[in-house]
């Protein structure tokens, strides 16, 4: 698996406990509209992602991330910048 595919698989795994509606996850799945997450769910999910990848995803960055694919891209950039 490529780096990106691995990141994507991990994100899908981290979404699962918060996927109360059982939405089928793709790169295009939107957090707000499709998963219908409220701000506390977002906080918990982001905290888990931050812990998993050891990065900070600031609210400024979150505002630019609408879809699962965009989150994976952002993580690729963040981990590349760190390493």
């Amino acid at each position: 698996m490529s780096d990106r595919a691995e990141t994507y698989a991990k994100i899908v795994e981290l979404i699962e406990p918060f996927n109360k509606k059982g939405v089928a996850i793709t790169e295009a799945t939107r957090f707000a509209q499709d998963l219908e997450w409220d701000s506390l769910t977002v906080l918990d999910f982001v905290a888990n992602v931050e812990d998993e990848f050891d990065v900070i995803i600031s609210m400024n960055m979150q505002a630019e991330i609408e879809t699962v694919g965009q989150l994976v891209d952002a993580l690729q950039r963040l981990t590349a910048a760190r390493d």
């Binding site: 409220d38 701000s39 506390l40 906080l43 918990d44 905290a47 931050e50 812990d51 050891d54 990065v55 900070i56 600031s58 609210m59 400024n60 960055m61």
Partner: protein
């Protein structure tokens, strides 16, 4: 033409649906007369006030009122200008001196409201390459201060020391860090673990700002707030406060020992580009602050009131925001907005005013009846309040 107001339609509909049930509009109450810090006339009826921020009951203090009248006579009704132009009178300097004496700090800067104090200080000191780490339940004025600036905003779970520490450790080396905390969180009335959080922040090279709006005058040996009560006030870089709660008028401030604080007077836009407080307001504030220094008996009585109301409401079967009373705020958790509005109205009919609080002001989408006590609530009034909660709670089915 797109109606720019169509984005408010869901809220308009929710509000109409609520009012259609016949309930009194909880966000449109008028106080026709105010008799004292604890009693007003609402809809022609004598009403005990349990939803004001008048924690220390200073609004009708004779010395405070006299100082305001004298300033009106001597300095007129308003300054018509910015603090940095024609808007600094002797009274503005005097209230800043009163704050320095109250907090035993080197610098004090007075803003026109507490909201502007947070807006101004946070947006100005944290710049583009800096990070602001803040509690997710922070007040709107803190979030708006973040939104107005250019810093990276990193929230952490409410009062979670470990979550704060983890985020601080991940911030790139060399970046400026500001941790923003509150002493008392105003929705649930709970207190922050400042001792631990301030230590973690310092250990990771962050400056610390604490909003003590809801603790001033009441919590801590000298009424300086939660940071004083937990013994870390000397480790806090900036304390933000307000005159609109215990002080009993309106205005906001920042006190600090930072040697360069005064430069903010020139670069902080919410300080510069607005009119300064009227002379009567700063005169009442200065008088009130000096009297609050010497209010240990009132502080003790307010704690008694808070403990008794908390225990009494619990005994009646209400669910409260905290397991034990931590401040002068006691939040009664309602199952939903409809039930909350019904209970709010039943209490008003009994002759008791509390705050109905709902999302987005509240955490986790809760509807709350927020009770805030006053040092001037008498023992009899606290007894009356509990009786009203019992009657209204049974009438609305909130308790059995």
């Amino acid at each position: 033409m797109t109606d720019l107001f169509s984005k408010f339609d869901p809220l308009i509909e929710q509000r109409e649906a609520l009012l259609e049930t016949g309930v009194t509009d909880p966000f449109n109450l008028v106080m026709e007369k105010v008799e004292s810090p604890t009693v007003a006339i609402c809809n022609g009826k004598r009403t005990i006030l349990l939803g004001t921020y008048n924690y220390m009951g200073m609004t009708f203090d004779p010395d405070v009122v006299a100082a305001g009248k004298q300033a009106l006579d001597e300095f007129g009704s308003g300054t018509t200008g910015s603090r940095v132009l024609n808007g600094t009178y002797a009274g503005h300097r005097a209230v800043e001196q009163a704050l320095k004496d109250f907090y035993a700090m080197d610098h004090a800067m007075v803003f026109s409201t507490g909201y502007q104090a947070n807006l101004g200080v946070i947006s100005t000191i944290a710049g583009k390459e800096d990070y602001i780490v803040l509690d997710i339940d922070s007040h709107a004025s803190i979030y708006d201060g973040c939104a107005m600036g250019n810093a990276q905003i990193v929230p952490f779970r409410h009062n979670d020391i470990e979550a704060l520490e983890k985020r601080l450790k991940r911030i790139p080396e060399g970046a400026g860090k500001l941790v923003v905390l509150e002493g008392v969180y105003s929705m649930m009335g709970d207190v922050a673990p400042l001792k631990e959080m301030v230590a973690v922040s310092r250990a990771n090279g962050a400056m610390v700002l604490v909003d003590e709006a809801h603790s001033m005058g009441f919590i801590g040996e000298h009424g300086r707030g939660v940071a004083e009560a937990q013994g870390v006030i000397d480790e806090v870089d900036f304390i933000i406060g307000t005159f609109s709660k215990s002080v009993g008028t309106v205005g906001g401030f920042c006190v600090s020992n930072h040697p360069k604080l005064e430069i903010l007077r020139l670069v902080c836009r919410p300080y510069v580009f607005t009119a300064s407080l009227p002379p009567s307001v700063v005169a009442t504030a200065a008088t009130s602050i000096r009297k609050l220094m010497d209010s240990a008996d009132k502080r003790a009585h307010l704690w008694e009131n808070s403990k008794r109301l908390h225990a009494g409401l619990r005994q009646l079967g209400f669910t409260l925001g905290t397991d034990e009373p931590q401040s002068a705020i006691i939040a009664v958790i309602m199952p939903d907005l409809e039930k909350g509005a019904a209970m709010w109205e039943a209490l008003l009919n009994e002759g008791l005013y509390v705050n109905l609080a709902r999302p987005p002001a509240t955490p986790a989408g809760m509807t709350l009846l927020r009770c805030s006590l006053c040092a001037l609530h008498t023992d009899d009034q606290v007894g009356e309040i509990l009786g009203m909660f019992a009657a209204a709670g049974r009438a609305t089915g909130c308790i059995s």
